[in-house]
Amino acid sequence: MNNPIEMIQPDAETQARFEKIAQGLKKRHAASRRLKTYGIMAIVTAISFLAILLTTIISNGYTAIQQTELQITLTIPAEKLQYDDGAIDPVKARNFNWNGLIKKAFLAEFPDVTAMLDQRALGEILSKNAGYDLRRLIEAKGSIPVGETKVWIKTSDDVDMLMKGRLDRNLDEAQRRLSNQQIGWIDSLVADDRIRLVFNDTFFTAADSREPESAGVLGATVGSVMALFVTVLLALPVAVMAAVYLEYFAPPGRVTDFIEVNINNLAAVPSIVFGLLGLAVFLGFFGMPRSAPLVGGMVLALMTLPTIIIATRASIRAVPTSIRDAALGLGASRMQAAIDHILPLAAPGILTGTIIGIAQALGETAPLIMIGMVAFIVDVPATLTDPATALPVQIYIWSDSAERAFYERSSLAIMVLLTFLITMNISAVLLRRKFEKKW
């Protein structure tokens, strides 16, 4: 009973206030829990958006990994294609009407289809590039098979869509891209086991095409790789030198402040403005070629420069000052300390930052559209000044196309792009983990 606090009996008023607080407490904790729930809901929503995005793309795109082919029995007239010694004459092979040969062989298998319009409808089952594909096949083989041969020919994209279940049979015939008659023929071919789905290697070995079944991402991928090569070549040395300057040599003052403000602002300038810069300066003023990976790379280099500078400065700062002090104390010049001692230790961080910057640049579309890398290009670019497109631009072009089959290929191209991005980011993380030093 000698504890003074316990001796004080709260009066009625205080007692009432205590009770009121105790009652309110429940409500207040509930409010707190509610806030926490909102947070969890927000995160779940954001992550489910990500999940929806990815599943939509994968479910739309995975079928493009296969392509429908049709078996045709035909006889290739060797005498029209060979030199006297039996080797294939490339000029004759180029001028030969392969499409006609395939179509004739295919029509011969349906002797009861005689009307002109019906024959045309039947021909639409075949890919428009079937002749070209067959010629490439024969040329790759180097010899012409004698007598009747069975070859697998790509079908048109509409048949491809039907086989993959992406063309609704129950739709009204007028709204469907394949008529009932065509579907009947296809079903009979399926019943004969003469239609199959195989791995779509064209997608990974060809450039763009008007026909979805002949279109691939190789051209765009090579264009992207070339542009990024230029980007790294230009941005990395300039960024590292700029970062070293700003960290070790810049005298405090207005010029340095102005440079820093500029770098920070450039990091937030919309990418399309860099495209306008490239269009006006590189193409307009310097007269560089349109659609070239060289110019694309230069524009992307200007865009990634701030990212790499900021990353380089951070990793330079992460190197303990004792390293620099020791170097200077042993008589190294400031330049020697920076180049021989700081930069090698900062290199993993610089590399990581560069990879992340390049990954960003790989996904950029708008500036490349501005400098004309949005053209329809059927050849894989061979040099830095050839007209080319880039992977994200290819996705944009395809998603604008009317054919359902391009929609599917666009999704697969996105999966290819995301695979590149994920690989780059994971390698950045792994590099950081492998070389990161705790001082």
Binding site: K36, I43, A46, I57, A280, T383
Partner: protein
Amino acid sequence: MSDFLSPNLVVFAMTIAAAFLSFYLATGRVRKQAIASQTKSHSLNQYYGFYVSLWVLVPAILLALMWMFAADPMLTSAAKARMVDAYPNLPESFLNLKMAQLVNIASGYIKAPDAVMAAQAELLRAAQASADRARSLTLAAVMCNGFFYAFRRVSPELRARVLCEAFLRRLFFLSAVVAILTTIGIVASLLFEAVRFFREISLFDFFFGTHWSPMTALRPGDAAAADEFVAGSTGSFGMVPVMAGTLLVAVIAMAVAVPIGLFSAIYTSEFASWRVRNIVKPTLEVLAGVPTVVYGFFAALTAAPFFRDLGLFVGLDVSSQSALAAGGVMGIMIIPFISSLSDDVITAVPQSLRDGAYGLGSTRGETIIRVVLPAAFPGLVGAFLLAISRAIGETMIVVMAAGVAANMTINPLESVTTVTVQIVMLLTGDNEFDSVKTLSAFALGMTLFVITLLLNVAALTASRRLGQRYE
């Protein structure tokens, strides 16, 4: 291409070889001299090598760059003059096509269609060859000159390291100045074209005009006549509806991104354990790493049809290019932007403020709402401003999912257009730099650049104010 590239490659290889040779000679010379005079040289031997090779390389590189910008246009204009003589009656636009053809013939890509072109191509090729020869000779002369100047100065007393380092420091400074040059390049190119645009269209008409249809304004004849009826003879370059569309899309994006981003940030910074935080934050960052063209694809081919079907289901007429689809998907893209910036800002609020609030008996929620968020407010405003700037400048999502026609509306179910969409539409396709149509894209670009710049500066000021408050 091989015809075009090979002389360049040879010259390049020769230059590199010359640099290595001079490095070797210079180090040899200083070593010998030091031994002969029994002195220790001022710098390490390699610096003398660097010194001489710099004198060989740098003037040669500068010359080659200047040559590229001076000689090639001269060759082209001379060839063009010859073409004008050869085809006196050809209009300008055909001449440009012919020129492109000529260059291709001269490089050996295609065969000449007629004798005149073949002769012209031969002339061009000869001119290129003689220019290449002249360049090689000049380069060799410059390299020799630099080499002998520097090589004669090499002696143990020469402060080679200091000279090399001074050069490097200047090079480093120039690299840092590239950032300034880029900004200047952006402003100058936008301003230059925009000024040409404003010579045709008055500032007032551009910024306050309420009718935008650049495609029809260009065409002479019936379409333009119909358009003149609406917009007057100056054409229709009033950017108000374009700006309104941009803002509508940005507002929708923010309406999606701010609540989700902010609540995520509150959870990760205040409630989550370290383990959860380390999983959730990188997962959200993945959303930021997805390229915008992927969001555009999603918006145009999944979200827009979804909203359209939903509208049909409840009996609303939703455009297939509705602002809702574009803005909503853009909001998803911006979520990680807001969540990570806000997380940083909230974490930066000093722990003492929270402890004070807990000490006075606040619950966790009350501390966050009444103390932490008000303290973080300037930083949060900065984060939102940056996000708006991002939304206004975003291109691919709206190019793929928003409309082209400039409707003035605040109805998110209708189709609107944005500044970035118009820039892309105006500059893809045929590209003559002098038409009002293409120039207007640069005027829009200028407006976009200024707006985003102002937003960024405002954001920076706001977050700096937060920093000052608690440091």
